[in-house]
């Protein structure tokens, strides 16, 4: 397929090691003009390393990168690389204090007579952004933008650079459906115009949607490169896990994962709530103004052994709801009761004592302390128990003994329990965060987007672990914008603009299309999502 054309980018025989960890072992990748290559692989397979080498941030130990047959600039020569390709990173590279227009032209503002041509900055940025139909005002400061809008600015920056090569590193991780579709349309246009695109994603359906070819990394080796047309999802998952296309299916693997490991998860729930017949969590008339989305009179209960999903757009208030239930923020009005007893708002330590385990919405900013070890992070919420009767003295051995069963049952991949969490792959970091949330015998677990940016198999494992806590008698409040996470929930509440607009049974029994319509706030479809009845606080038909 690429025989006739000189590849836009070719990486040959790339090796890269970090200490004793061999991240890449002889990887060959070529990007052809006018084609989109999907790069997939489980967490830790080497995707991020390959991206950082292809984008000039790191130098390979061995091997070479060429652009149009010419040798690549030396690693770290930022300007030289930027002339060759544009990268949209998984984590925001936006400068919040600058305007949208300045961010679009960051580092290469148009000049006239040796001065920055501010008029050109504004008009050109407006032109680029206008093509997206995004409605982002170029004069706004980026700190005021939503996550989705920031992502749009990053994409606009890549497009505005007029690049011939585009690396998209999980660009949809934080995007909503509509935005993903817009993104795909735009990427397709670029590909048709002759741009070579490398698309990295955990969502395999997206890879089938947008990519012409797919390359699979496994343990630092490229195990498969093939056109997507001849592949199935199961085949792709098998390549990621086993290194070849045939073998057990995705579902079988997921089942296996849950049976083999999570069964031993040492969750203990000593809850008197079930015996007393009271809910583990009760929210009454919660109203809040928050940067994570406002809430407008939300009431809900979670019973012991029940898992309740709350789903909605990122700005709909699902994240705020989770943060309030976990004691991270406080609402303006309303009550928060855990196990029948009122809790002060915004007091995380009190919530923990009352038995609320918490998986935050963003593991990098609030999930773990990167410089500390796996064992230390896993036991961070139970140090008082581990050091009880010893005047607060807490030996390393005690932490390791307490953390070991969690590492085993969550199939954690790390060189040892003493390894820094910052050095783990994303999925394994999230396992550490989940272990911490479950370690203190929670009567309620609040998990916000617990599987974001995590590979298929780890995702299943994390959800199984949460399910395991529910089976042990804990209540689960799962706040998310991903429908896939809701499969284990007993019932699902749909949040639109801070209000519960629908309640539907979970267990994957809902109609996905109707659910998405409900999430997007399309009122007419709500009645037909499932065997749904209206939520307690709202009439079913009454939506904004």
């Amino acid at each position: 397929m690429t025989a006739v054309l000189t590849p836009a980018v070719a990486a040959r025989g790339i090796h890269k090691s970090y200490g004793s960890t061999r991240a890449l072992r002889g990887v060959d990748v070529t990007l052809a003009p006018g084609r989109c290559l999907g790069l997939v692989g489980r967490n830790g397979a080497g995707k991020s390393t390959l991206v950082s080498i292809l984008s000039g941030l790191q130098r390979p130990d061995e091997g070479e990168v060429t652009f149009d047959g010419e040798a690549a600039p030396p690693a770290g020569a930022v300007h030289a690389w930027r002339a060759k390709l544009a990268t949209v990173h998984q984590h925001s590279m936006i400068v919040p204090e600058l305007t949208v227009a300045e961010n679009v032209f960051l580092g290469r503002l148009p000049r006239r007579r040796r001065r920055v041509d501010w008029r050109a900055v504004r008009t050109e940025a407006a032109a680029v952004l206008g093509e997206w139909g995004s409605g982002v005002d170029p004069a706004r400061a980026c700190r005021d933008l939503s996550v989705e809008q920031r992502q749009i600015v990053e994409l606009a920056r890549a497009v505005a650079s007029g690049t011939k090569v585009l690396l998209l590193d999980e660009p949809t991780a934080a995007l909503e459906r509509e935005a993903v579709l817009r993104l795909f349309t735009r990427v397709r246009q670029l590909v048709d115009a002759g741009v070579a695109v490398l698309y990295i994603s955990h969502h395999l359906e997206e890879v089938f949607d947008i990519c012409d070819d797919v390359a699979v990394l496994r343990d630092g080796e490229l195990v498969l490169t093939a056109p997507t047309a001849g592949l199935s999802t199961d085949g792709l998952v098998n390549a990621m896990v086993h290194g070849h296309v045939g073998g057990p299916t995705e579902t079988e693997l997921a089942d296996q994962a849950s049976r083999t490991a999570v069964e031993d998860l040492p969750v203990h729930v000593e809850s008197a709530d079930a015996a007393a017949g009271r809910p583990v969590l009760e929210l009454r008339g919660l109203t809040a103004a928050s940067e994570y989305g406002d809430l407008d009179g939300v009431s809900l209960t979670v019973a012991p052994g029940e898992s309740v999903g709350v789903v909605g757009l990122i700005s709909s208030g699902v994240v705020t709801l989770g943060r309030i239930a976990a004691g991270i923020e406080s609402g303006d009005e309303g009550e928060l009761l855990v196990g029948g007893a009122g809790l002060p708002g915004g007091d995380r330590a009190a919530a923990l004592e009352a038995g609320v385990g918490y998986v935050p919405e963003d593991r990098r900013t609030a999930g773990y302390v990167g410089a500390l070890s796996v064992a230390e992070n896993m036991t961070m919420s139970i140090t008082d128990r581990l050091s009880a009767g010893r005047l607060g003295v807490l030996g390393r051995r005690r932490m390791h003994e307490a953390a070991q069963p969690w590492a085993d049952s969550l199939a954690l991949v790390a060189s040892s329990l003493a390894q820094q969490v910052a050095d783990l792959s994303g999925g394994n970091q999230q396992k550490v965060t989940v272990a911490r949330a479950l370690a203190r015998d929670p009567r309620l677990v609040v998990a916000i987007t617990p599987t974001r940016g995590v590979d298929v198999v780890s995702k299943e494992l994390l959800l199984q672990a949460l399910r395991r806590a529910v089976d042990a008698g804990a209540g689960l409040l799962l706040a998310t914008d991903e429908l896939d996470d809701l499969g284990y929930c007993d019932r699902v509440l749909v949040l639109v603009r801070g209000r519960i607009v629908a309640e539907v049974p979970g267990g994957g029994r809902f109609d996905r299309t109707a659910m998405i319509a409900a999430i997007e706030g399309v009122a007419s479809t709500i009645g037909s999502i499932g065997a749904g009845r209206g939520a307690t606080s709202e009439e079913p038909g009454e939506t904004p």
Partner: protein, 349 residues
């Protein structure tokens, strides 16, 4: 651990833990001992400069005595740096606390207030003033959410003003023996001050390493949001650390007062010791971003500065060059620590 499901060979459960743990631990020690080669070079240079340098009298009684006050203060600043804060006012606490106490206990003829309080009560006053200053700093920074840099900058000037104003520019002397004890007395050849400093370093080091609050300090400095999500009482511990840091600075000031047998208006702020305090901590690998650093590192930073100061004194370099030499050596030590110790030593993030 099943092969089908987790094909990577390094899964934690699969490898015996003790084997895996040795690697990072050894690496950690190398990082902590990064200054040892630098110290060795300094010892050689010192021996070349003066025959007196490599004697126990000079190193233990002389240098040991001189660095103790600084060292105790560095422990305080290091704790505050570890939670991701900073405190510029430690230098003024170091001057003000012993000044007020001395003023209250020495006779009017020695520029005291005439109250002539019990010297042991004076020691309590020193520590109490430290605690009070730390509490005010902590509340302003943690509860009122003011910027730590500007709060403690304002505080350091305020306290230095109080230090001079309270005694109208005089320097109380004739400190009672009990009050001056830890700054002046010796146990055999070893200054009491050095013993006190060593105990403070070891106690703080063990506390940080093995106590759950010590571990929480690292968690808070490393990622305050994650620490909060884990249920650590972040605000309370932060305020506690500001209080402890100021108390240690006050103790440092008490040692210094005893050493020079009086409290001058210049002690602390006008001497500009805060630069030495920060330099010792950072040279020793304590990160200005918080969450990284050890007491062993901070101690080696203090020893390094003390030795350099001692060599400058012994070399009989002209007084007016001392600042330039001192500053130059500190910058040089920072560069060396960066080269030997890697990222953490110079705070490259």
């Amino acid at each position: 651990m099943t092969q089908t499901q987790q094909p990577l060979p390094q899964a934690v459960g699969a490898a015996p833990l003790l084997g895996g743990r040795r690697g990072p631990a050894a690496l950690g020690f190398i990082r902590e001992a990064a200054l040892l080669p630098v110290l060795a070079v300094i010892l050689v240079v010192g021996a070349l400069v003066s025959p007196v340098f490599l004697t126990t009298t000079n190193l233990i009684s002389g240098v040991g005595q001189q660095v103790s006050a600084l060292g105790v203060t560095v422990v305080g600043e290091s704790l505050i740096l570890l939670i991701g804060g900073m405190d510029l006012s430690l230098e003024s606490t170091y001057g003000l606390a012993p000044m007020i106490a001395a003023w209250l206990i020495v006779p009017a003829s020695a520029f005291g207030s005439g109250l002539m309080l019990n010297p042991y009560l004076g020691i309590l006053i020193v520590i109490g003033i430290g605690a009070a200053v730390g509490l005010v700093n902590g509340l302003l920074i943690v509860k009122a959410r003011l910027n730590g840099f500007i709060v403690t900058l304002g505080m350091t000037i305020l306290l230095a003003g109080l230090q001079n104003g309270s005694v109208q520019g005089q320097s109380p002397y004739q400190l009672p023996a009990a009050f001056a004890y830890i700054g002046t007395e010796y146990l055999g050849e070893v200054p009491v001050a050095l013993v006190v400093a060593a105990v403070v370093f070891i106690a703080a080091g063990l506390f940080l390493r093995y106590h759950r609050t010590g571990r929480a300090i690292y968690a808070i400095g490393g990622n305050p949001q994650a620490a909060r999500a884990a249920g650590i009482r972040v605000d309370r511990i932060k305020i506690g650390v500001y209080v402890a840091g100021s108390m240690l600075a006050a103790l440092g000031g008490l040692i210094e007062a005893g050493r020079v047998s009086s409290v001058t208006g210049a002690q602390g702020y006008q001497e500009g010791i805060i630069f030495s305090v920060f330099a010792a901590a950072v040279i020793g690998g304590v990160s200005l971003q918080g969450g990284k650093g050890t007491m062993l590192g901070a101690a080696s930073g203090v020893v390094l500065l003390g030795l350099v100061q001692n060599i400058i004194n012994l070399s009989q370099a002209p007084n007016y060059w001392q600042y330039a030499i001192n500053g130059g050596v500190i910058l040089f030590a920072l560069v060396l620590a960066r080269i030997v110790g890697g990222e953490s030593a110079a705070d490259q993030t």
